[in-house]
Structure formats: C-alpha cells, structure tokens
Subunit: 285 residues, 2 copies
C-alpha cells in the first residue's frame, strides 16, 4: 500500500455554483471576530492568503493587481491628491499604494474590524508595510458613521469593501455614495470595487446606477484579479466637479507591477458585453 | 431530517494545487477518444461546457472572449486576410469568428480529433455554427503533418491548441513555429494561445522565446477568459514581413461582445509583471 499524504484544501464558494480551491499546508489564523470570520493560510499555488467570511481578500501572488488599480487610477487622475480616505482595506494594501504618491499628506484608513488590521500586520508584512507611515491614521470604526461628519475634506475616497453582504452592504448604496460625494473636495474622485461582470453583473449594475445618481460623472474601468471570482474585476469611479478620470494628470509611482500610465487608459476601454450590463452607451465603440 | 439534494460537481485541477469547481446537473458526453477524454456537461454557473482531458475548453458563458481575441486581433491587423489556417479549435469557435471577415475566402480547420468536431456540432450549435460555411474545409489530422507541405499559403495561422501536454506539446515548439512561418505568405501573421502568466509563466516564456527565434517580430497581447486558470490569458503573435500587429488595418466585425478596435490596441498594453516574465523590455512604460 502506498504511503498516504495529507490532502488539505481551502474552498471558496465564489457563487453557490462555482468554487475555487487552493491546496494549503498551514493554517495560521482561523477565528471569528465580532464582524466576520478570518482565515489566514499558506497555499502552495498563491502563497499566503487571507479570507474573510470565506472569500479571499489577499493572496501574496496577486494582491498587487487589485491594490494598484484601486489606488493609482484615481490618484493619478487627480493633479495633486493630498488627503485620501480608504474605506475598508484593513489589510493595508491600498494604503501601501496610496503613500507612494508624494503629494499625499494624510490618509485615513477606516475599517470596521480592528482584527483584520492586526492580522495583516502580523501575517502580511509586505501588504501592511505602510500602516505605520506617519501620514496614515487608522480609525477602526464603521465608515458609514465616519464619513457623515466629513464635508469637502478629501481629494480621493477609495472604497475597498468586501462583497456587499452584511455590514458591507451599505457601502454599495446611494445614501453612502451621497456621503462620499459630500466628503470629497471639488475636483475629487471616488472609486469602489464593483465585483465581476461575469459572476455578479447585477451588483455591478446596481452600484453603477446608484453612483450615477450621485456623482457628476461615473466611469467604469477593469483589470484582472486571479483569485477573485472569474479573474476579471471592475471598479467604478465617481467625479465631483472633476475631469475625465481616464486621463492621468499626476506622476505614476515607479515601483508598480500592474499599473502604468498606458494600463490606466487601457483599463477604461470596455468590451461591449460590459457596456451592455450597464445598459447605456458609455462604452467604447 | 431534511430532504437531501444531489450535489454533483465537475472539478478541474488547473494546477496540482489549484482547482475550479462547477456545479452541474447533467452530463451529456463522458468518453475517451483515441486522443483524449471528452466531457460535456451542463453547469448551473456557466451553462454548457466541454472539457478535454479534464481542462475546460469552452463554456457557453465566456467562450466569446477567447475566440474573439484568437481570431480578430491578427485578422484585423492584416489589411485583407483571404486564406486562414486554424490549428486545433475543433469546437469551431475560432472558425465562427474567422468567417465574420468578408475578405476571407478559405479557412482550413485542422484538428487531430474528429470527435471534438462532431461533439461540438451536436452539443454546441452556437459555437460550431460556421463549420458548414462553404469557405471552411475540415481536416481531421495532425496539424504538424498538415502544415509541412504548405509554403506561403496563408495570410493568418491561428493555433488554438489545448495545453502543451501530450500530442499538443509540439505546437509550442520551435520546429512547428518554423513550419507555421514557412506556411505564411509575406505580410502574414500567426497567433497562439500562450496560457496564464500567473499559473504557467514558464510556458508563456518558452513559447514566446521559441517564436522570437522564428518570426520577424513577436508581440504579446492579453485578455480575460474566466474559466481558464486565473482568468487572465495571453496570446503571442508572430509577423512574417508584416507591420506591428497592435494596429488594426481592416474593418472590425460588428457583432462582437469582447473585441473592438480599442480593445485590440489596449490588449497589447502589458502590465510590468508580464513584461518581466518575458525577460525583455518589450512592454509598455
């Protein structure tokens, strides 16, 4: 008889009918916080990863694609972003990218779950590396509360939320977008992750529609993120008295692995099937 | 006690350490041909799909992204493609896109496995729809043999192979690329699928290097393909005395869902991590 091997897998049900499995060798964190379940494990394919309520948020191999696109598109669209708000994103990946912009003077990181921040500090030093930057102020609280008192305070608001379930649901709704818009200075931009157009087209459309009722101009861009469902990911930008975000206006940080000035422009080129989901004619032809 | 449900899944081991699962309700084909195993099933997430030797080739939901990029990029780069060779691609998806180009007079489809062609005709009418087009000639044989006798015969050669395993391995090697180049007319283009840069960077690099030793100019482009590993897919073009393939020179078919003229150009914009895999400076900056 052959010697048997331990066969240990993490499985994410990306939808009820589609699942991604990663072979793992070590589980480092496996606990419930007051807000969600945190799993940190080492996978053979993607290195270390963190899942919140069973959904992969960060893997060592591919987190750069998502974090770079979340941060650099609107920060490079802005001529001189000084004050930035990151909603969610407790792992610190977006903040790491934001502080690469020399004009940035102040970054608020507002994540409802302090344990995500602590876990990232302990297990993802490459992701959380900028959380101790003196420009960064961490607010472990509900962003929906935080933002209500902020008026014309930020040049950029980056909504790095989990999927629109439970406490994150409000981050995809019009009242929150109104508060985000009010919190932006004139000339400012907001961006949110708006899921996969293949797996969750109705979430994408609903978020895009809600933002369109609030902001002067709303534009979609996209990129790849291998361990998120279907690997194609969308991002929705809102402008407050600001020009077309598909044109970069400030310098691109040099040490990026996905984002460049040309990728910036290319990411706003929408395949027709994506324009169809939005139900308008904003796409490329 | 609750009533139990049948819980039936197809699982693709995309690598030894990563797997994608699709919930299925019906298996339509499940048999071994002389060349490979064919599975056709109806999934709840992606509709009907075909897997060869366990690897998804086509799903109803997303096959358009891959087939459109395989066909239209080099056919639109060419000012007037008349004669086209499709290697592999027995499902007919690439051929369906090729015949959308009004200049095309003749298409050879050379797939080693006649049963893939027959299965697609029976179960994927929307994919195999153009196999009876009078311009299409089907050759169920080894493309490596077929191409040896063809000299300066085609304006475009599209290598729609399975992964480089077993009989498909030769389709990623220099001797085959030399025959492809010889089979091209001056001004012609070849393209091959070169896998995911996340899951199989060494296959991508090796194919790119082999093509670079053969063709006048070799350029990489990319797109999304959700049910292929990591969702990000690369394609490598070779030019035979032909200009830069990133510029479209002939009209774009109107009924596409992924490909447009702007997507054509955008797909050649490479993120730095992808340029790094190639180990040269051909990427965008």
């Amino acid at each position: 008889m052959e010697k048997r091997q331990t066969d240990l897998w993490f499985t994410e049900y990306q939808t009820p009918d589609m699942r991604l499995g990663l072979r793992i060798d070590t589980i480092l964190v496996n606990r419930q916080t007051p807000f969600q379940h945190i799993l940190v494990a080492d996978s053979l394919e993607n290195g270390r990863f963190m899942a919140l309520d069973g959904a992969i948020q960060v893997t060592d191999r591919d987190e750069f694609t998502y974090h770079e696109m979340m941060a650099h598109v609107i920060l490079c669209a802005h001529p001189e972003p000084r004050r930035v708000l990151v909603v969610g994103g407790g792992d610190g990946g977006v903040v790491r990218e934001v502080v690469k912009h020399p004009s940035v003077e102040k970054v608020f990181l507002v994540d409802i779950d302090r344990e995500v921040i602590d876990t990232s500090r302990e297990f993802f030093p490459g992701v959380s590396v900028a959380l101790d930057d003196p420009r960064v102020e961490i607010k472990p609280m509900d962003a929906i509360e935080f933002i209500r008192s902020r008026k014309e305070d930020f040049d950029a608001v980056i909504v790095d939320s989990t999927d629109p379930v439970d406490f994150a649901e409000g981050l995809f709704r019009e009242p929150f977008y109104r508060d985000v818009c009010a919190a932006l200075r004139p000339g400012g931009y907001a961006v949110g992750q708006t899921e996969s157009p293949f797996a969750e087209p109705e979430i994408l459309k609903s978020a895009h529609d809600a933002m369109s009722r609030v902001f002067d101009d709303v534009r979609l861009f996209w990129g790849v993120m291998p361990t998120y469902p279907t690997g194609m990911w969308t991002y929705c930008t809102g402008c407050k008295q600001a020009p077309d975000p598909s044109v970069p206006r400030s310098a691109v940080p040099v040490d990026t692995r996905y984002y460049t000035e040309a990728i910036h422009a290319a990411s706003f080129v929408l395949p027709p099937f994506l324009t169809e989901i939005l139900g308008d004619d904003k796409g490329d032809d």
